[in-house]
Amino acid sequence: MEHLLYIGALICVWVIVSIAVNLVIGYTGMMAMGHAAYLGVGGYTAASLNIFFGVNFFLAMAIAATVSAAVAVLTLLPLLRLSGFYFALATLGLNFVFFDLFHNLAPRVEGSEGLHGLKLPAALVSAEARFATLLAITLLCVLAAKRLVDSPLGRLLRAARDRPEAVSAIGKNPTTCQIVVWGVSGAMTGIAGALYAATLFYIDPTLFTLSASIAMLVFVGVGGLASIGGSILGPVLLISFTESLRFIGLPSQYTGPVQQALYGALLIGLMIFRRQGLLGKYDFRE
């Protein structure tokens, strides 16, 4: 049971990330492929503050959200002038750049490669409490995201996704919308990063690599573009599936490769048969 609660918590983290990524990829059509970097920034900010300065974890999480948002926007600004595909490529590069940054510069507890020793509040210690807390936070993120995408701003995002030039023709600045939503996405990813650390009690650079970004892409792609429900479905489906592999008797050394191969196959299948994903409304923006 405890184990399931832990997996539940893990799923919550990835749901938040997927929603954050879907906000930019699905609703705004910005091909974000480097969110692992922001996840890492969030995780490291929260963990460092909590471990080295004894900042209350939830406060640290809030700060982490802000920092991630800031980093996200700062990394976005220079990339804004890039056309869709080169934009994707540049964000992809972020994964590698930030990995080396984390690996070479990020603080680490002596003798290990990363950070442990979080001083967690009661609400995050026991398995039950942690799951409940994460579920609550995830719910908040879902509601916030829903509020955003159903708002006039969200409408503008979806408009800009298809016809940025027409958006300026009706007197709204599409670029501003993009920056705003990217910041929101960054903040959410930062929160997820903090919760990720709280779920694992530990973070190190190997958690924030290209493969994490790919996982996000798969979750969003499978769940469905521009669909909050999809971003919930995606991680729930895939994580519970791969974790269930542990239980249905498959020797555990195959879960790793099977999972990776599965993700690969899913990506191909999606691109051929259903580019908008299970619950998606739109196609990928080319």
């Binding site: 290990s112 490669e113 009690f201």
Partner: protein, 384 residues
Amino acid sequence: MRLYPIRNLLFAIASVLVALPLALAPRAALAQAAKAASGEPYRIGVTYPLSGPQGAWGQLLIPSMEIAVQHVNAAGGVNGRPLSLVIEDTKGNPEGAVSAMRKVVQVDRVAAILTIFTNVVSAQMPLADQLKVPLLSPVEAPGLVAKSEWAFAHSPLLSRTLPLVSQRWQRDKVKRLFAFYPNTPIAKVGSPIVKAEADRLGIQYEETLFKLGDTDFRGLITRAKNFNPDAIFIFGHGTPDEGVIMKQTRELGMTTQMYNGCACVTVKSYREAAGKAAEGVIYAGFKYDVAAAKKLIDAYRARLGFDPDYGGLEVYDMVFMIAEGIRKYGYSGDGIRRGLTEIKDFRSIGGGLVSMDKDRQSLVAVGLYQVKDASKPEFVELKE
């Protein structure tokens, strides 16, 4: 809209897929928990990388544990009950480490865990404190296990192996020493120790870090070359990378004598990567007395067709250490922990006696060896 039929279908599939694990998991959990309670074998958790970049280690070391378990059980088991291993893949990364550990502890209810790798152990230590389950691993990063009273290490620390090598340096009048470390915690703690030793002996010292998983180290080696050392010291995790470095060193025209801080040359993949370049290498490491280890070596050869490396000896020991803990204080996390802390003059399969120090780091017997033929694990112990 038109999509609805498809959607409903997809929803159906989706819900089934979600239901599947939720339905299966608890049953599996109960089943296993029940077994443990009705108490036949004592279960030991093994959280090792079986897939992913470090996957090879699981494949190499687990057989050696299984052999140890066989030997224990053949000798009547522990308090008349057999041992058994519950193996989970960590994929060598923190998330996998935590998932695997939670699974073996919370689902399979094991009372002790054999694990490996600094990043995995770091990720598991906070959990060990919480779940009160001892971790026993061959990590070689000094100070790591000191962080948690539930973490134990059975491995030769550099502080024990280096003196043997440095005697050699003195004997051979080494004047200029160049050292290679992987960019991992080991290096971060290893390099100052070596540097201090070099200073003590008045040896010119220069070092560089290499990235595990890289295949082209010639840039670094060129550095070494420019430094023109008369001794090269490599200290890592016994990964093939170090073998590749040795080979590429030779291929850049350096004939300098090479030393290694661990018994990596006993690792097959390492020897293969190094090729002829490994010959003549002098290394200090975990005591590996072929005669003493015969019963392990034979069994291991029978299974995998080659000899176990020094890690195989370490993990073999670990199974016996845990068995001893259970024997003394019974099958419980705390019991086994006490057992491990009290280990004294434990006879290692490699020969030599082992005791735990107060930081839960084993003090192992070490030896100085030179590689004769790289194609097979042939090395001679060097005595002064």
